[in-house]
Amino acid sequence: MEMETTGAQPGPANSGNGVRAPVTRRAQRRGWEQVSEHVIELFIRLCGISAIVFVFAIFFFVFREGAPILPRLDLWKFLFTPYWYPTSLGQARYGVGALILGTLSVTALSMALAVPFGLGAAVFVSEFCGHRTKEALKIVIELLAAIPSVVWGFIGLTVMNVAIQKVFRVQVGLNILNASILLALMSVPVIVSIGEDSLKAVPDSYREAAFALGATQWQIVCRVLLPAAKNGLLAAVLLGVGRAVGETMAVLMATGHAVNIPHSIFDSVRTLTATIAAEMGETAEGSDHYRVLFVIGILLFSITFLMNLAADLVVKGIRKK
């Protein structure tokens, strides 16, 4: 795309209507510019809508594999009974009630551990730290977040298992408590980083005004910052919950393999996610069991979709302010 090949410089600007190059070459260049710009823009737009395409695709394909069994599935029995006997010949029963309770109990306990620690650490890193310590801590928390879930599961199976057996004097160390501690450690980085972001977003003028009134750091946090940042902190918690609900490998390895309704935190359970992971390898493609596992997938997808929607609405509430 040469502007000039004659070597002569463009003439002074006031020469009539300023033709500076052979008309054909100019027209070619003009045409090429517009066309290539349009092509590239089209490609970029396609990439841009890819996220929407994939979300729908995920729902579509999971639904496609699971749909054939839906008419035959008694939804009430499916969702609310705890009798999960998918491999029982002739009398297969698909009740995920116990699995839902398993997911709920593990999520609840892990959030009960993660939220206070996470928010506390977020407050510490954001308000009580010097600059160097802050950078160092943030790096550590980032590395904590990078640990793969299968490694956490492994830790649960070995270290945590033994530790729980010894400390709490129970027979079995693979239980709700085990998985919850792991999930808490996994969710804390999410809560800390988003929590820290929303605390950082509170304008410095709030802090300065409070300081000028003689408040201590702690009072500022308690009375000014936490209320001001509560939307962001809530979003952080919701995202942490979403992560806990969707976690697979760590709970697969650490909760034991008992499908039952838990009565204490030392009981073994199974979660929705672990069930799919554990049983999918053994099912025949197209069988009822196979399809029901896909239906559980639909259930999981819907739960996390709703949670993300809620978190997004909460965050939108911040932007409106």
């Binding site: 490609f43 970029i44 506390g120 793969p148 299968v150 979403g242 997004d312």
Partner: protein, 301 residues
């Protein structure tokens, strides 16, 4: 006069109580932070100790044998590399361009909000649901069968939203005035992006991509039924021992199977695998942080 001033600013009992509460709060929050970090360090140390006997170069470069009770990690290591590279070759370009669309081309209307919502939701999909999707879409519907390609595509879609989000943030950090200066001299939107915006957001983009490398290497669920396999022997030392149509072993999957399904494995073996996996992941993350720090120091404005 001095003493009167001093008396005015002396601490009252009320103020002392406030300071004590402050100190207490500082300790409590600091303790909470430590409460996360210390167990982590202890655990990593324990893993290292237990796995140390088996760690060696041979461990990394030989095939497993005797039902995986002896031998090394080579097929799993290579498989992980193949999965990561293939997945990122797909998700990095698509993710970067999607972020370019969102930050540079998209108008502020309801459609853009939906796209944004889709990105956030895609990020929140559980990894096992990604596995089901991969099974339904790539393995079955697209007829790829269980293969590295199917597993990589599944992983690519999993990492896509995070690459989009981090790239978008990097692009947004380039000031609008640069773009306006370019438009004023007759540059097209794409020329502006290509010459000014993208080169100056490369640090954020790279960091995001490298972090996804470590995440891809560690994921197990999405590859479980889409391409990862229990055991496979491949030619040692050959980087191209796999092809896209093959099934492969992977480090994450290998840790899972050895821990849960291999009986009578020597005790250090799973610890050694965990150390290799964890070490790889942490090293890649450290590289990402180093890249970020280095490129930030060379900031041009």
């Amino acid at each position: 006069m001095q003493t009167a001033d001093a008396a005015r600013f002396a601490q009252t009992p009320f103020v002392r109580k406030k300071h004590r509460a402050e100190l207490l709060a500082r300790c409590v929050f600091g303790g909470m932070t430590l409460g996360m970090i210390v167990p982590l360090l202890l655990i990593i140390g324990y893993l290292l100790c237990q796995g140390a006997p088996l760690l060696s170069w041979a461990f990394l470069t030989t095939n497993p044998s005797s039902g995986m009770r002896k031998g090394g990690l080579w097929p799993a290591l290579l498989g992980t590399v193949w999965l990561v590279v293939t997945a990122l070759c797909v998700s990095a370009p698509v993710g970067v361009f999607a972020a370019v669309y969102l930050n540079e081309y998209a108008k502020d209307n309801w459609f853009t909000r939906i796209v944004h919502l889709a990105v956030v939701n895609l990020a929140g999909v559980p990894s096992i649901v990604h596995a089901l999707f991969g099974l339904g879409a790539f393995v079955l519907f697209a007829g790829l069968g269980r293969s590295i390609l199917a597993a990589s595509l599944t992983l690519a879609i999993m990492t896509l939203p995070v690459i989009i989000a981090s790239t978008k943030e990097a692009l947004a950090s380039v000031p609008l005035s640069f773009r306006e200066a370019c438009w004023n001299v007759g540059a097209t939107r794409w020329q502006t992006i290509r010459r000014i915006v993208l080169p100056n957001s490369i640090s954020g983009i790279l960091t995001g991509v490298i972090l996804q490398v470590s995440r891809t290497a560690g994921e197990t669920a999405p590859i479980m039924f889409t391409g990862a396999v229990f055991f496979k022997n491949v030619e040692e030392g050959n980087l191209f021992a796999y092809s896209l149509k093959d099934q492969c072993m992977a480090l994450s999957m290998h840790l899972y199977t050895v821990t849960t399904q291999v009986t009578n494995a020597p005790e250090p073996l799973p610890y050694a695998i965990a150390v290799v996996l964890l070490g790889t992941v942490l090293l890649v993350n450290a590289a990402a942080i180093a890249v970020r720090v280095y490129l930030r120091s060379r900031k041009k404005w």
